[in-house]
């Protein structure tokens, strides 16, 4: 394997890993804090991509504006979903909220199919150049996705250290005791939904100049996000980030050798990992449904 090929595969893995990281950390945040298994998580990614398409390609706004628009739109939608769906089902327990998100995700998916059909939305590449580093050429569009994702992760890191961010962690760890501190759980919940969904929206916005948007992209990424969360450990943000890059890179290298068996390699590795560490790399075992 030449250095060029190695680096290209690595960058592929890093880029898709960064996208997995954003979607999975949004998912794990909501799972940890609200204890809601959000089946609609992938749809926010898909909607984020289409929102970016609408703002950047249809309205012709600058790409950065489109990213912010996708972020804001998905955060708002997340809040709306919380108040209209999650809040009412939360009191009935884990499986009810899960089913409610399944229903919501299906509605969004079907509505998107009706609206956009089976077509694809394409946003022109933001930087359409290759970066040449001493004889090794790398696609700068992918590097931009990676850079964007790292910025978002940095912002997330900062956010999780603000008062409301710490309150989210406190709620995730012990909801009742958090309430005893005067934390308004309802407020923490909707903020969490906003942040978790915005993360997916940003992921969709970042990826769309490299991968075009399609109405089924949400379901595909959702499966990967779950694998990432399993590997990283449920409710663990650091675990999700670590696992996302791991899965991305393993997937990328595995394809070079075993092609379509790459997903099988991932699943086999996940099975082995879960056998020895049921809680994943950095997490606790799955939250008990109904608790």
């Amino acid at each position: 394997m030449t250095l060029q090929l190695f680096l290209q595969i690595l960058v592929n893995g890093l880029m898709i890993g960064a996208i997995y990281a954003l979607v999975a950390s949004g998912f794990t945040l909501i799972l940890g804090v609200l204890q809601v298994f959000n089946f609609a998580q992938g749809q926010f990614y898909m909607l984020g991509a289409f929102a970016t398409y609408a703002v950047a390609s249809v309205l012709g706004a600058p790409y950065v504006v489109a990213i912010l628009a996708a972020l804001a739109a998905m955060a708002l939608l997340g809040i709306l979903v919380y108040f209209s769906i999650i809040k009412w089902t939360l009191r009935y327990g884990f499986f009810h909220t899960m089913l409610a998100t399944v229903a919501f995700g299906t509605i969004v998916g079907q509505a998107a199919v009706l609206k956009f059909g089976y077509s694809t939305a394409v946003v022109a590449a933001v930087v359409d150049k290759t970066l040449a580093l001493g004889g090794v050429s790398l696609n700068s569009g992918k590097l931009l996705v990676l850079a964007g994702a790292l910025v978002v992760m940095g912002l997330l890191y900062w956010f999780m250290r603000t008062k409301i961010g710490v309150a989210m962690q406190a709620c995730a760890e012990n909801r009742e005791v958090a309430c005893l501190q005067g934390i308004n759980a309802g407020k923490v919940f909707w903020v969490t939904m906003a942040v978790g969904c915005a993360l997916c929206g940003v992921a969709g916005a970042l990826v769309v100049p490299v991968l075009s948007a399609s109405t089924n992209m949400g379901q595909l990424i959702f499966l990967k996000a779950i694998i990432v969360v399993l590997v990283g450990g449920t409710g663990s943000m650091a675990g999700a980030l670590l696992a996302a890059f791991l899965v991305g890179i393993v997937e990328s290298f595995a394809f070079q050798y075993v092609e379509s068996f790459a997903p099988l390699v991932i699943f086999a590795l996940v099975a082995i990992l879960i056998y020895f560490r049921p809680g994943g790399l950095l997490g606790k075992p799955l939250p008990i449904p109904g608790q």
């Binding site: 008062k163 760890e173 012990n174 005893l180 501190q181 005067g182 934390i183 759980a185």
Partner: protein, 237 residues
């Protein structure tokens, strides 16, 4: 009366945990709730704090009814709780735990001021602020738990078995802490299995048995009560 519980009935599913409990907490006093395992002491405190809802009965605080308020509103009015088994946020640092206790404080300067006050009060915590709560010893954790509850400037502090799992020396220290907290003007409701210590500290005491108040009196008087002696003071330290 600062805090008043009137004929409180509480259920877990169909099981009755409290069957008409009434408690009066005068301002500035230390009131203790005694009772065996499962008597309903924790349930009483959880219901006062609003994290468990009563089936019937009333809770009054400073002249207004609080039994249908959400927990954060009750904290805002001035009732803080040190939960059973300390229950710190173990993944957070000590300072972040204190930040959570001060969640309702609006200004950052207020928070910093309170942190300083607490480190004066509990000097051990000073160099522990950046540590994870999980790295602390049981005694230190209990101090953080009390400090965390005091961060919101409460008028009433509900303490659920603060001596649980501590060495005899630490138990003495906790008793000192309770005394000094009370001397700062904070009313204390103390739930204890360690009846000897509780009765020494408290002004009034209630004895709960399977969800009912079976005895209540001034603490000094109860300490002499034969039944109490037999059931709660015998053989204990």
């Amino acid at each position: 009366m600062l805090l008043q519980v009137k004929d409180l009935w509480v259920h877990y599913g169909r099981a009755e945990a409290l069957k008409g409990v009434s408690i009066d907490v005068p301002e500035g006093s230390i009131v203790t709730l005694l009772g065996a395992n499962g008597a309903g002491k924790t349930t009483t405190l959880r219901t006062i704090s609003g994290v468990k809802r009563a089936t019937s009965g009333e809770i009054w605080f400073e002249g207004s009814r609080i039994d249908s308020l959400p927990p954060h509103e009750i904290v805002r009015r001035g009732i803080a709780q040190v939960p059973e088994g300390r229950q710190l946020f173990l993944s957070l640092t000590v300072k972040q735990n204190l930040l959570m206790g001060a969640f309702l404080l609006k200004k950052k300067s207020e928070f910093m001021h309170k942190v300083e006050e607490m480190t004066e009060h509990f000097p051990n915590l000073k160099e522990r602020l950046g540590n994870r709560a999980s790295d602390l010893s049981g005694g230190e954790q209990q101090m953080v738990a009390v400090a965390r509850a005091l961060m919101s400037n409460p008028r009433v502090l509900l303490m659920d078995e603060p001596s649980l799992g501590l060495s005899p020396i630490m138990v003495k220290e906790v008793a000192e802490i309770i005394k000094s907290v009370n001397s700062m003007g904070v009313t204390v409701v103390l739930v204890e299995q360690n009846a000897r210590m509780a009765l020494r500290l408290a002004d009034t005491a209630y004895v709960l048995e399977v969800g009912r108040v079976v005895l209540s009196d001034r603490a000094g008087a109860l300490a002499q009560d034969e039944r109490v002696k037999a059931a709660y003071l015998g053989g204990r330290c």
